[in-house]
Symmetry: C2
Subunit: 253 residues, 2 copies
């Protein structure tokens, strides 16, 4: 078994603890948490520590804390030549203290405490300084998920930006749709099948092939009617900019 | 059986012909098409006409043609007091010729010829001038789909605008994600589970609850790093505007 220690108690840490507990490939040796009560329901108390000096040497230490705490946490680990990785999409591998072997274990998913996540379908993006360490990360990742990708720090930055567009910004457009519905006494549920179908489409079509709508057709009449309908200046501005971007994009093809 | 005639041969018309052929509630009496060959594989040739004067009186005529042709087509129908509806999200019921009883039969979905659509899960938005006609529309709709909504012309306009945000614009964000991936030698497939999960989340959480990411956290450091990473001015502008909108939205809550 690969001996793994987790540092952190947030969303990612909690989901990883649960995933590791369901595999025989990984032995979860310790969980470091400043608030032991936040993980007490997931792991037996003798494995929880809140003292960095209590950390044992293991095969892999995963730091699953907020981006701006990663460097400081890695500095506090009182071990040397220990494989230490973080789980962030936007922090370079080099942010980790150089006294240890560095790597990244980035599950590309949107985690929220209120919704269960099936780790199996989450791709995990891996990076390490050498092939031996990469193999350890891949074995641990494959124990909990189906697909892993080798992604270097520069690519991971690109991926994180792309993820903001296809997830955070997409969700904000859902939110605007919900606002327009509620302002017009419409049940947002009407739009949910369309939202699901729009996401499902790109599993079989490229986004360029899947593009439809007034901007794609350069249907100026409908576009102007929509702009006349919108009273919120923010929504109007977003409508204009995305319409222009779709039209410009069509010209490039 | 309710006797229905369809005018049109595009995506919506073709999907409706297929859906009606699988129910015993609706009898498809005629299909009007200027290009009979486009529907020849879906309906027997004796039912296809390309002459408006050949149109018989039925319970319902559905005009499924492009938005700007609806009025002209409705003017050409040589019948009176016939229930006639169109299938458009953005055209008012009043666009139909007043010599006939008017209505709207709007399936809220993104249709593309290259992808099959399960009509069962598509909500159909209905409007009619009186309750008797509404009942006919509802019976026809319920024969092919599970959910119908009563939506007046003003609400339908709102719904169509909202649909552009949650579908056309969302797909464009997918397209930007794909571009960023390919520019960085990353497989767009990495993002697909995230895209599916983002859409699935709003089935159980409101978009406001589901919002995550640097803008939601007002994480200026990550936002600036992303803006520094983006070189395409269009992408940068979209990133800035949507980030600002998420932050402003958070302040309103």
């Amino acid at each position: 078994m690969i001996r793994v220690t987790l540092i952190g108690s947030g969303n990612v840490a909690q989901h990883l603890i649960q995933a590791f507990s369901q595999t025989t490939v990984v032995e979860l040796v310790q969980v470091f948490s400043r608030q032991p009560e936040t993980v007490a329901h997931l792991v037996s108390s003798n494995k929880i520590t809140s003292d960095f000096n209590g950390l044992q040497k293991v095969d892999l230490i995963i730091i699953a804390v907020s981006d701006n705490a990663i460097t400081e946490v890695s500095n506090q680990i009182p071990l040397q030549n220990q494989l230490v990785v973080h789980t962030s999409g936007s922090v370079a591998m080099e942010a980790l203290n150089a006294k240890n072997r560095k790597g990244v274990f980035y599950p590309l998913q949107t985690f929220s405490k209120t919704k269960a996540v099936d780790f199996k379908v989450i791709p995990v993006c891996l990076e390490a300084e050498n092939e031996t360490d990469y193999q350890i990360l891949e074995t641990v990742a494959k124990a909990i998920c189906d697909v892993t990708y080798k992604v270097n720090s520069e690519q991971r930055k690109a991926l994180h930006v792309a993820a903001v567009f296809v997830s955070n910004f997409v969700n904000h457009l859902y939110q605007i749709g919900e606002t327009i519905c509620s302002e017009n006494q419409l049940d947002f549920a009407i739009l949910k099948p369309l939202i699901q179908e729009t996401a499902a489409k790109i599993l079989t079509l490229s986004p360029t092939e899947a593009q439809t709508g007034p901007a794609k057709r350069q249907d100026t009449q409908t576009i102007n009617a929509h702009l006349a309908f919108l009273t919120d200046e923010h929504q109007k501005e977003i409508y204009k900019l995305l319409t222009k971007s779709i039209i410009d994009n069509g010209k490039k093809l």
